[in-house]
């Protein structure tokens, strides 16, 4: 089986027609389903958060069979993810897409778990510590996209589970949990 680094590619990835958006509805739905799963799976294992449609992305080209997804196909697959709440367009022109391999709600739950695991139920932690500190090492939070983290924090703030406060500079924000 073909691999991308450590990532095992599904068989359909080697079947040329899967790189052309199918005109018949039933076939297209199946095709989109397979691609959606592949994109989420890949992003999760590679910790990829943003896909830029016009740039090289390992899944969009298969050099072995010399096929590449058209812009139309890329947009169709990502739009399908967006409509399911598993992705969000970052601009109106649909050039960049934020991939939510965990939904925002799930990220919020992970944050709460993180606080509990590290005895921070009433504690304070900086955002940088969440993203790159030793406490988050080995968890999905390590290296989390800033936008996604902010969204999850905002959701928890609305629920009164934490307060985000500013430090002296913008990249010095902190979080006070009250779980």
């Amino acid at each position: 089986m073909q691999k991308l680094g450590e990532f095992k590619l599904p068989h359909f990835f080697n079947y040329p027609p899967y790189f052309t958006l199918q005109p018949v509805r039933d076939t297209r739905e199946k095709q989109i389903q397979l691609w959606k799963e592949l994109i989420l799976d890949y992003c999760k294992t590679q910790k990829t958060f943003v896909i830029a449609l016009e740039e090289e992305f390992p899944l969009f080209t298969n050099h072995v069979i010399e096929r590449s997804l058209t812009h139309e196909a890329r947009e169709a697959f990502l739009s399908a993810l967006v409509s399911e709440g598993r992705a969000e367009w970052m601009d109106k022109g649909h050039r960049k897409c934020l991939i939510l391999w965990h939904r925002i709600q799930d990220w919020a739950d992970i944050l709460i778990q993180f606080a509990k695991d590290n005895g921070l139920e009433d504690g304070v932690v900086t955002i940088e510590e969440i993203r790159s500190g030793t406490e988050s090492q080995g968890t999905d939070l390590h290296g989390i996209d800033r936008t996604i983290l902010n969204r999850a924090l905002k959701l928890l703030e609305q629920k009164g589970k934490l307060v985000v406060f500013k430090g002296t500079s913008t990249d010095d924000e902190g979080v006070k949990f009250s779980v």
């Binding site: 068989h11 079947y15 040329p16 052309t20 005109p23 018949v24 076939t27 095709q31 010399e66």
Partner: protein
């Protein structure tokens, strides 16, 4: 016998006719008895044989197929009913019912990918994968037998021959001669182009496009516009070798 006039003559004639009839019946009875006896002997020997080679029949697909042939010749169908001697003795009925259920399962699982038409070889391959833990091997002959039993359900399971290959159809799509010829052509590379169909089958372009469009609509074909030469390729998951490795759950 010369016919003589009078009542006496008529009576004699009637008596003689009765005698002949009796004799005839006797002869016929002896013959049928003999035949019945022979058949019974044959049947009991077949049963003995089955009992003796029970394990071979269960485990060895070639042996199983020959046994089926032998049964067919004497008019015994071990699959006809799940009850009775044969099923009890061999459990063959269950074996084929089980295969049948698994075949239906595989056909349904791969339908989205192949439009309900699957290569018999691929089906067997998937069946074997699924039955990995079971002892005994499943042959294509077993598959065909199980499929023939599925016909009872009226669900439109059918085996069609396209070129050298056998395809199993699990959707009520009717394939006409044109479609069959295209499928046969596609077996070489897994795909065809309009130009290729026109040239190889000497068709008008309208005829080729029409048939390909139908196959596309039925979900049996997928288009591929990604090749360097810019020619649209029509791929057929049911005949192309790549699909043979696609797992049921993918």
């Amino acid at each position: 016998m010369r016919r003589r006039p009078g009542i006496g003559g008529l009576q004699t004639h009637a008596a003689a006719r009765d005698q002949f009839r009796l004799l005839g019946e006797n002869v016929a009875k002896i013959r049928t008895d003999l035949m019945k006896e022979q058949l019974a002997t044959f049947r009991s020997q077949l049963e003995d044989f089955a009992r003796k080679h029970k394990n071979d029949i269960r485990k060895n697909p070639a042996f199983r197929s020959q046994f089926h042939e032998m049964c067919a010749k004497v008019g015994v169908d071990p699959l006809a009913s799940n009850k009775g001697f044969w099923a009890e003795l061999l459990g063959i009925g269950d074996f084929y019912y089980e295969l049948g259920v698994q075949i239906v399962d595989i056909c349904l699982a791969t339908r989205a990918h192949n439009g309900g038409l699957i290569n018999l070889q691929e089906l067997c391959h998937l069946l074997r994968q699924r039955r990995k833990n079971d002892r005994g091997v499943v042959s294509e002959d077993d598959c065909l037998r199980a499929i023939s039993k599925l016909k009872v359900l009226g669900s439109g399971f059918e085996v069609i021959s396209v070129g050298k290959r056998k395809l199993v159809r699990s959707v009520p799509t009717e394939l006409n001669k044109d479609h069959n010829e295209i499928l046969e052509l596609a077996q070489a590379q897994g795909f065809v182009t309009v130009v290729e169909v026109e040239r190889r089958l000497s068709w008008s372009s309208g005829r080729a496009i029409d048939a390909l469009d139908t196959l596309l609509d039925e979900g049996l074909a997928m288009i591929d516009d990604g090749h360097r030469d810019g020619r649209r390729r029509y791929w057929f998951p049911c005949v192309s070798p790549i699909s043979s490795s696609i797992a049921v759950d993918s």
